[in-house]
Each structure stands twice: as structure tokens, then as C-alpha cells.
């Protein structure tokens, strides 16, 4: 009724290829962005920023990265935690060497370092596929975490083995450390994530994105029509790792402030991000955001209901969380392998037809 695309005719290819071709979608997204940038900062408090919004943004970014590799290009990776660590430690070292460097540049450089590491560990993908590749990424996961733990240079020989972020100013506004306001942290992270999300959307709907999807769907045919598997897979690893590295840097510097490699970047983290994209939707930019929202909010909800409402202890809540996650993974894989993003799409299609059933 009010959500129709008839009458919205396109007279040029750019218009047809726009990210949001339907006018109502455009308005909706503009509304959400306006609320995110202009309204939320005023209502933000420490708790909401630290427990909900910052982790949501950081994990959405990591999910975007992993989705590029696994959802769009079909290369399974269990090394996300370790790549986040690379980004985090890279940012730590850069800030240590060049304290006056603009933090955006630090983030970009950390991303590049992670992209290089990602490409190196992605080289095996040329010869191996599927879960064999997953094992190769496990090698990256365990080796890198061990390295960050053992090699003192990475954590400036700090006795605790942890790395702590310095207070960093961004054009005069403090964005890391205890003196940064939640609003500052939030807006900075939000901007970075939005810019990167837009770039990701542009890449996946262009030539490179099609190459990735071709490799995912039928790599032999892709090679035979002239796509170079080497270039496509390595570029997927590079771009994906860039995103994950930036996410890791933000995770460390802006969100947590201090990390210790085994806890923050271990194999569980890799699973966590994998779950985000499975639940959110493989091969979808929106999916990364939906999945991240889901995964950040569900434990909080659980805790509130179980610990606050029903009086269980938080350990039990943690176990139920694990159980629930597993069940949801299985549920989504069986019922809707394209995750929440596809469900969202179906809902929109139904809305388009409303009030008619089909």
C-alpha cells in the first residue's frame, strides 16, 4: 500500500544500480543514519555505549570483513580472532612510534598490515578449499595468538603481557582512554564503520564482488571464463583482513582500552564472528549489522531475564547462552541459510504486497 515500487521508474543505469533503488528504503536508511548521528549521542550514557553500541559497531565491522571472505568469496576462516589481534597490536605499535599521528591514519595502517598478514595466511587457499582451508586459518589463529603472547616486543615488554591504549586525541577531542566521553567514542567509531560499510557495499556490487561470488559459486567455471583464482582469493583475504584489522584496532583502542591476547582474541572470538555472519546472513552487508546486533543483545537480554528476573547465577546464564547460540546456528542453517538479512528481505517483500497475501 504505502511501500510500493510501481511508479518508481528508472531511466538510467546508475539509478537502476543504486544501493537503495526504492525511495522508501532510501528514506528509511536516511532516517536511521540521522538518528544514529544526531539523536543518539545526546541520550548516550557510559553503560549503553560500552555494553551495547560500541561492541555492536566493532563486531559489525568484523562481521563485514569475515562476510567478505566467507559469505561473498566462500573461503571459510576460523582465524578472525587472530587477525583482530594483528590490527590491535599494529595500532598499539604505531601509536607508540608516532604518537602525533592522526588516529584515522593509524587505523588505516593497521588495516594494511593486517591485510598483508591475511594474504600470507590466505596463500594456501589456492590449493585447498572448504574446511581444509578452515584448518589452515586455525594455524594462523593459534600461531599469531601465541606470538603476541610470547614475543615481548609486541607488548613493549610489559610485565602483565597486556597492552593498554594511550590517550589519543582526534582533532582535539579525546577518543581513547578513561577521559574520553562515550559520545566521542561512539561518533568516531560510527563514522569509521559507516564509511567502511559504504565502501564494502560498493566493492561487492562491482567487478571484484562478482569475481568473489563467482569463485564461491563455482570456482572452476570462474577460472574458465577468465577470472584468476589467485587474484580473486587473495584480494578477498586482503580486503577482509583489512576490515577485521581495523575492527580489532577499534576493539582494543576505543572499546576496551586494554587487552590481553589469549582472552580477547582467541578461537572463541573467531567463532563469535562466524556466528554473527551465519545468523545475520552470509553474503550480505546488512547481515553483518543484523547479526552483530543480535549477538550483542541476546546475552544482555539473557542476563537480565535469567539473573535479574529468575535469580540464576551468571555462570548458568553463560551456559544457557552457549546452548542458545548453538541452537540458533543450527536453526538458521536449516531454515534460512541466508540468515536475518533474508528474513528482512522477505518481510519487505510481504510489506510491498500488503494488504494482499501474495
Amino acid at each position: 500500500m504505502f511501500y510500493r515500487e510501481s511508479g518508481q521508474l528508472k531511466s538510467s543505469y546508475p539509478a537502476d544500480q543504486a544501493i537503495f533503488p526504492i525511495a522508501q528504503d532510501r528514506w528509511f536508511v536516511i532516517g536511521v543514519l540521522a538518528a544514529a548521528f544526531l539523536v543518539i549521542p545526546f541520550f548516550l550514557n557510559q553503560y549503553w555505549a560500552n555494553a551495547v553500541l560500541l561492541p555492536f559497531l566493532v563486531y559489525a565491522l568484523a562481521g563485514l570483513g569475515l562476510n567478505i571472505l566467507t559469505g561473498y568469496c566462500g573461503q571459510v576462516s576460523l582465524g578472525t580472532g587472530a587477525f583482530m589481534a594483528v590490527g590491535a597490536y599494529a595500532s598499539f605499535k604505531f601509536v607508540g612510534f608516532f604518537p602525533e599521528l592522526n588516529f584515522l591514519i593509524v587505523l588505516a595502517l593497521s588495516g594494511v598490515i593486517t591485510a598483508v598478514v591475511g594474504m600470507i595466511f590466505g596463500l594456501p587457499s589456492l590449493r585447498i578449499k572448504g574446511f581444509y582451508l578452515a584448518v589452515a586459518t586455525l594455524a594462523a589463529q593459534f600461531f599469531l595468538v601465541w606470538m603476541f603472547n610470547k614475543v615481548g616486543w609486541f607488548y613493549d615488554y610489559n610485565l602483565t603481557g597486556m597492552i593498554t591504549v594511550r590517550p589519543i586525541d582526534f582533532f582535539g577531542i579525546r577518543i581513547t582512554g578513561p577521559e574520553a566521553t562515550p559520545a566521542a567514542k561512539y561518533l568516531f567509531t560510527l563514522t569509521v564503520v559507516c564509511v567502511l560499510a559504504l565502501s564494502a557495499k560498493n566493492i561487492v556490487r562491482g567487478r571484484i564482488g562478482r569475481e568473489w561470488m563467482a569463485i564461491r559459486d563455482m570456482d572452476i567455471a570462474a577460472e574458465l571464463i577468465g577470472i584468476r583464482p589467485l587474484r580473486a582469493k587473495l584480494s578477498a583475504f586482503a580486503v577482509s583482513s583489512f576490515y577485521i584489522g581495523v575492527a580489532g584496532a577499534l576493539y582494543f583502542a576505543v572499546y576496551l582500552g586494554a587487552v590481553e591476547p589469549v582472552e580477547a582474541f582467541d578461537i572463541n572470538q573467531s567463532f563469535y564472528v562466524l556466528f554473527i555472519i551465519i545468523i545475520g546472513g552470509l553474503g550480505s552487508v546488512l547481515g553483518a549489522f543484523l547479526g552483530a546486533a543480535f549477538i550483542v543483545l541476546v546475552p544482555i537480554l539473557l542476563k537480565n531475564i535469567m539473573v535479574g528476573g529468575m535469580g540464576f547465577d551468571s555462570g548458568m546464564a553463560g551456559h544457557v547462552e552457549i546452548l542458545l547460540m548453538g541452537m540458533l546456528i543450527i536453526f538458521f542453517l536449516i531454515v534460512e541459510p541466508h540468515g536475518l538479512a533474508r528474513l528482512w528481505q522477505i518481510a519487505k517483500e510481504k510489506l510491498r504486497l500488503w494488504p494482499f497475501p501474495h
Binding site: V76, I128, V135, F142, M325, G326, M327, I330, L333
Partner: protein, 310 residues
């Protein structure tokens, strides 16, 4: 002379650990051979089996709470086997049945979900503290070996090696000689084709996952007796992956050989290279070794070559 003995002990110790890895890997191979599914939940199944066994045996478990007595070992083990068979049936009905035609990555991720479900369930039902498991396997070092050869070897590990050997022989016979074994191999090759010759997929899968569950139980018993029943048991599953890569995903003897190589390799690396780089090499050595294999011999030592057709 003392150095040689030390090296021998390290190797033997590695071999023993390798046997333990092989036990877990065996369960993987079974399921993969028969259904083409890589069951990430294998390690958690070992943990779950061990937890269930503990529950039958101990006075702080559900069984005691409900029935007022605990089972003796010779009853507890069959009871646990029944539990694993029921579990296999449930898994087939709620998960496998719906994923019949999906590609292997989806199936793999579903087993990751399954691993989490079993882990959460295990924690909720049985609690997450470490539980000692004593079913009468001889503990402690072998005195005879110590006295005759000056070798320190645990009786438990020798027992585990023996059990593994028996298991391998039984399974090999099962797959090669029996009608069910043949059917299992058909199913692994092509689900649709197997269905079309009348092989009942769901029955087959229940059988395979049950057998795998029993293998998991054996692994769980061995590991649990050695270091208590605890969460880290499920992490062994991750270690089984390099074992399978070395041995080949479809080979029963390969799982054993792969396990032994990884076990020995890890120990040697830890002892001789470890001190130079700060130790804990065992965390990643197996995976790096597997990575090397993946690059140069992806089918492993005993696996089948994959030929692609267009």
C-alpha cells in the same frame, strides 16, 4: 646414555599422546567416511560421554538423585552407550535429516552449532567443574618397565594404546566386511544415489553417529581418566583436525598414523625448540605441520585424491 633414554621417553610419551589424539580422530573419520560430514562436535561428544559416565558412577550426579544408587562400572558403561545411541538418534532427527542436500560448508557449520549445544547442555546438566573419572584402569607408572628398562611410562597410556589398536581392527573389519559397512561407504560417496538404491539414510546415520559416539566414549574415558573430565577435552577436537589432515580424512589407519606423528612431533618440538622461543609450542605446532601438508599433499598420507570434473 641418559640422553638417549630421555629422547626415547619423549618419543614414547609423544606416541602415547598421539594415540589419544587418534582415538578422537577415529570418531571423525567414521562420520566423514559414512556421511561426508565433518563433525566438529566430536570432541564435545567425548566430553559429553565422559560426563554421562561420571553421572552414572558418582553420588553427586542426577542418576543418584533420581534413583538413589549409583551404577557399578560394568553397568555404567553400557548405560552410557545407550545414552550415546539416543543422542545419535536425536541428532539425526533434529539436525541431520534437514541438511541432507546442503553443501559441506553448511554441514560443517551446523556441527559447530551442535558442538556449542552439547557443550552448553553438558555444562547445564552436569556442571563445569573438573570431575575425576576412575573406572578401574590401572594408574601410575609401569613398575616393570621402570625396573627393567629404566623407562617411565604410564600404565594408563599403554592401556589406551592397546584399546585403540583393538578399536581400529574392529572398525576396519566392520567397514570392509559387513553389509552395513558397505552401505556406509555408499552413503559417504553420494547421498542421493544411496537413497535411490534403497539405503535408508536416517538409519545409517543413526548407526554411524552411535558408533562414533561409542568411540567418543572410549576417548573420553581415556582422557578423563588421565586428567579428569573437563572442558578442555572439547578443545582436543580442534587438535584432531591436523591429525586428520596428515592421515587423510577417510582413512582409519591414517587417523592412527596421523595422531602418532602429531603426538611425537609436538613433544619433540616442545622439548627441543620450545626453550628457544619461550615454550608452549604445542599450541600451534600441529596446525603448522598440517598447513605444510595441505600445501604439498592435501589428501594426507592415506587419503584419496580428489579429481575435479566439469
Amino acid at each position: 646414555m641418559g640422553f638417549d633414554i630421555f629422547l626415547l621417553e619423549v618419543i614414547l610419551s609423544g606416541l602415547m599422546t598421539g594415540v589419544m589424539y587418534a582415538l578422537v580422530a577415529l570418531g571423525f573419520v567414521l562420520i566423514f567416511k559414512a556421511s561426508g560430514i565433518f563433525n566438529f562436535a566430536q570432541g564435545v561428544m567425548a566430553l559429553f560421554a565422559a560426563l554421562a559416565l561420571y553421572d552414572f558412577l558418582a553420588e553427586d550426579g542426577w542418576f543418584f538423585a533420581v534413583f538413589g544408587f549409583t551404577l557399578p562400572v560394568w553397568l555404567a558403561i553400557p548405560a552410557t552407550i545407550v545414552v550415546m545411541i539416543v543422542l545419535a538418534w536425536v541428532i539425526e532427527r533434529t539436525v541431520l535429516r534437514f541438511l541432507v542436500k546442503q553443501n559441506e560448508i553448511i554441514l560443517f557449520m551446523a556441527t559447530i552449532g551442535l558442538a556449542f549445544v552439547l557443550e552448553g547442555l553438558g555444562d547445564i546438566l552436569f556442571g563445569s567443574d573438573v570431575k575425576p573419572l576412575d573406572i578401574g584402569i590401572p594408574q601410575g607408572a609401569s613398575d616393570w618397565l621402570l625396573d627393567s628398562f629404566n623407562l617411565y611410562l604410564e600404565k594408563l597410556e599403554i592401556f589406551a594404546a592397546g584399546t585403540a589398536a583393538v578399536l581400529v581392527v574392529v572398525l576396519a573389519i566392520f567397514f570392509q566386511r559387513t553389509r552395513i559397512g558397505r552401505a556406509l561407504r555408499a552413503v559417504a560417496d553420494d547421498h542421493q544415489a544411496a537413497l535411490s538404491v534403497g539405503i535408508s539414510l536416517d538409519k545409517i546415520w543413526v548407526i554411524v553417529w552411535s558408533v562414533s559416539g561409542i568411540v567418543a566414549l572410549v576417548a573420553g574415558i581415556m582422557w578423563g581418566s588421565k586428567s579428569g573430565v573437563q572442558f578442555s577435552l572439547s578443545l582436543i577436537a580442534l587438535k584432531a583436525l591436523p591429525v586428520l589432515i596428515l592421515g587423510g580424512f577417510t582413512s582409519v589407519p591414517g587417523a592412527i598414523v596421523g595422531g602418532l606423528i602429531i603426538g611425537v612431533g609436538e613433544k619433540l618440538a616442545e622439548v627441543y625448540i620450545g626453550p628457544m622461543v619461550g615454550g608452549a609450542i604445542e599450541n600451534w605446532f600441529a596446525y603448522m605441520l598440517a598447513l605444510g601438508f595441505l600445501l604439498f599433499r592435501p589428501q594426507g598420507l592415506f587419503g584419496e585424491r580428489i579429481i575435479e570434473r566439469v
